[in-house]
């Protein structure tokens, strides 16, 4: 097991190095003078230019610059935002819980609906229910989620006036951030209605972000279940006279879950892509909106740091799932 863990961990090191290289080159690829890019001003006079050049270390050869950059990164120094002059890592840390909260809710929503829908569709194969689930899943999979978000706002916030349009909580509540997760913080704060407000703000973004994973999970669960339900051991279980719900729920589901878990893990990257759009539509103060604004304001240190941090998070999550997978399924652990 230890060998398995060590091989997996060592495999991501080159990817991480490559990621730092991409983030490093990014600032140099942007057209124009890197000093003006990094300082965020134009028309800097020659003397100040030279001073900034040495201040940022850009007068050194590229490999040295890269080494210095990696050194900073490994010490947790990702530079300062050009707009807010705050440390990039600190801004990221402050906003990241909002993105996690939204993503976790979206994944739970997707699993909670997609898993049962996929199982029932597989059991009732070729019935109207099955066709309905598959058609809905295909539509969800093809959905431009930014438009979906606008439609839901139109329906639930506009016509039905049920949910708020944007933000994480109504302005009348001020919740002291303790964990950064507003659902927990608002419960801890003892303010009347704060938790309700936080939940009502979370509903639409959760649906929007969860739609594509929901469709993927429903499709994957259905096809994995269909495959497993055709196996001999299922026939044996049925022949023994076990109740059908037990055969499906206990015997079949356990093996069908393996590919489904993989697919859920693979959704992490696309979940973040979705978070950029969802957070932008609902003014959700998370990392996705932060990066979108960084691109628009040409805040390159934020973009550079954000790319590296997000890439690292995705990599770490994938590694975690890989390890978990080896833990669950001994066949994978022992193959290499």
């Amino acid at each position: 097991m230890l060998r398995f863990i060590l091989t997996r961990v060592s495999l991501i090191i080159p990817t991480f190095v490559g990621l730092t290289l991409v983030a490093f080159i990014l600032v140099h690829l942007i057209p124009g003078d890197p000093i003006e890019t990094l300082a965020g001003e134009r028309g800097i006079d020659a003397e100040r230019h030279a001073r900034l050049l040495s201040e940022y270390g850009l007068d050194k050869p590229l490999p040295v610059q890269y080494a210095v950059y990696v050194g900073h990164v490994l010490h947790g120094d990702f530079g300062l935002s050009l707009i807010t002059h705050q440390s990039v890592i600190r801004e990221f840390a402050a906003l990241f819980p909002a993105t996690i909260e939204l993503s976790v809710c979206a994944v739970l929503f997707a699993i909670g609906l997609g898993l049962p829908a996929g199982i029932i569709a597989a059991v009732k194969r070729n019935t109207p229910f099955d066709h309905g689930v598959m058609a809905t899943a295909l539509a969800g999979y093809s959905m431009p989620i930014f438009w979906w978000g606008l439609l839901l706002i139109l329906l639930f916030s506009g016509w039905l006036a049920l949910t708020p349009v944007s933000g994480r909580i109504s302005v009348e509540y001020f919740v002291e951030p303790q964990t950064g997760f507003l659902l927990i913080d608002s419960l801890l704060s003892d303010q009347e209605g704060a938790f309700r407000s936080a939940v009502s703000h979370l509903i639409l973004p959760t649906i929007v972000l969860g739609t594509v994973p929901l469709a993927v999970i429903a499709r994957m669960t259905r096809s994995a279940m269909l495959e497993v339900l055709g196996e001999d051991y299922i026939r044996t279980a049925r022949a023994k006279g076990l109740p059908p719900y037990w055969v499906v729920g206990a015997h079949a589901l356990r093996n069908a879950l393996i590919p489904v878990v993989t697919v859920i893990g693979l959704q992490i990257g696309s979940l973040f892509a979705g978070a950029i759009l969802t957070e932008t539509i609902f003014s959700w103060p998370g990392v996705g909106k932060w990066l979108y604004e960084a691109v628009n304001r040409r805040d390159y240190p934020v973009l550079q740091g954000g790319v590296l941090l997000i890439g690292t998070v995705v990599m770490a999550v994938n590694l975690g799932i890989d390890l978990l997978y080896g833990l669950i399924n001994p066949r994978i652990r022992h193959t290499r």
Partner: protein, 301 residues
């Protein structure tokens, strides 16, 4: 059942059916895929004859008709069947002309990603060692970044615009083609027919392009079809974020970005461009699923 039995006898006399014929017979039983194909043909026609079909110019503003509702709502008229936007442009005409942009972006982005991805995948599959490690590491790095974030980075470097968004989408979708080609090449290389070609004296280039590549095409064709829907979605997302096609171009995502502030006042401004994106992406996904079923021998029969 009876007809099937009747069919088998003449087939044995005629010899095997042509593969294209066999493919088509299998494909057309999939109603979803045929439906998707029809929608795509319809969209191509619409794009080709947009100038004739569209009642107005997509960028002409009509000062007397701001935010007119569609024809079936009170206050709507046949002059603007789907209503007008905030500066009086006909939405139907813009949606029709938008099909040109989306199909263009889809075609070019998929072509670029396909050609570069297949080339890199072939190299990685044939030249084991340093080229393979280098290419596959690069692909791994690209896959650690969420596609939209990577596309945003590319646009941040190149600057916003239709063409740059297209390049961004092509780069983002590249890894899938590299991985599929490499996996297919490695699987095919060990097959007897490749060994036979090698023994017969086929050179490396001949092996790569005429012996192995045609036999790797099935998964690539499926991926390219599904890639169309991904490309159209990604380009529309970039347009929506203001990083893709710039106004006044009638790109569907850009139209949605323009309409955001009118969500609660004029539902038609928001609805129709999104329907256009959904229908187009759905059509390519249906076609891709159908092609996969028809081309994948494991699922066949």
């Amino acid at each position: 059942m009876v007809t099937e039995v009747a069919d088998i006898v003449p087939v044995a006399q005629r010899g095997p059916r042509h593969p294209a014929r066999e493919f088509w017979d299998y494909f057309r039983t999939n109603h979803g895929a045929v439906g998707g194909l029809m929608i795509i043909i319809g969209l191509l026609l619409l794009a080709a004859f947009a100038g004739v079909v569209a009642p107005h110019s997509p960028i002409a503003t009509h000062n007397d008709a701001f935010l007119r509702p569609p024809v079936w709502e009170a206050g709507g008229s046949w002059t603007y069947p789907l209503g007008t936007d905030a500066i009086g442009r006909d939405i139907l005409s813009r949606v029709i002309h938008g099909s040109r942009l989306s199909l263009l972006i889809g075609t070019l982005a998929v072509s670029i990603a396909f050609l570069c991805g297949v080339a890199l995948g072939l190299v990685a599959g044939f030249f084991r060692g340093i080229p393979e490690i280098g290419i596959m590491r690069l692909v791994d790095i690209m896959l650690t970044l969420p596609s939209l974030l990577l596309a945003m980075v590319v646009v941040a470097i190149l600057g916003p615009g239709l063409i740059n968004a297209m390049f961004a989408v092509a780069i983002v979708t590249l890894p899938a083609y590299v991985r599929i080609t490499r996996a297919a090449v490695i699987a095919e290389r060990a097959r007897d027919y490749v060994v036979a070609a090698r023994v017969a004296g086929a050179g490396r280039w001949r092996l790569m392009f005429s012996t192995v590549l045609p036999n790797c095409m099935a998964p690539l064709i499926v991926q390219a079809t599904l890639g169309f829907s991904a490309a159209i979605l990604d380009a529309a997302s970039l347009g929506f974020l203001g990083l893709g096609a710039q106004p006044p171009l009638p790109e569907w995502g850009t139209m949605l970005a323009d309409s955001r502030e009118f969500v609660l006042r004029a539902w038609w401004v928001v609805t129709f461009p999104g329907v256009a994106i959904l229908v187009t992406v759905l059509a390519f996904n249906l076609l891709g699923d159908g092609l996969r079923d028809a081309l994948d021998p494991k699922l066949k029969r």
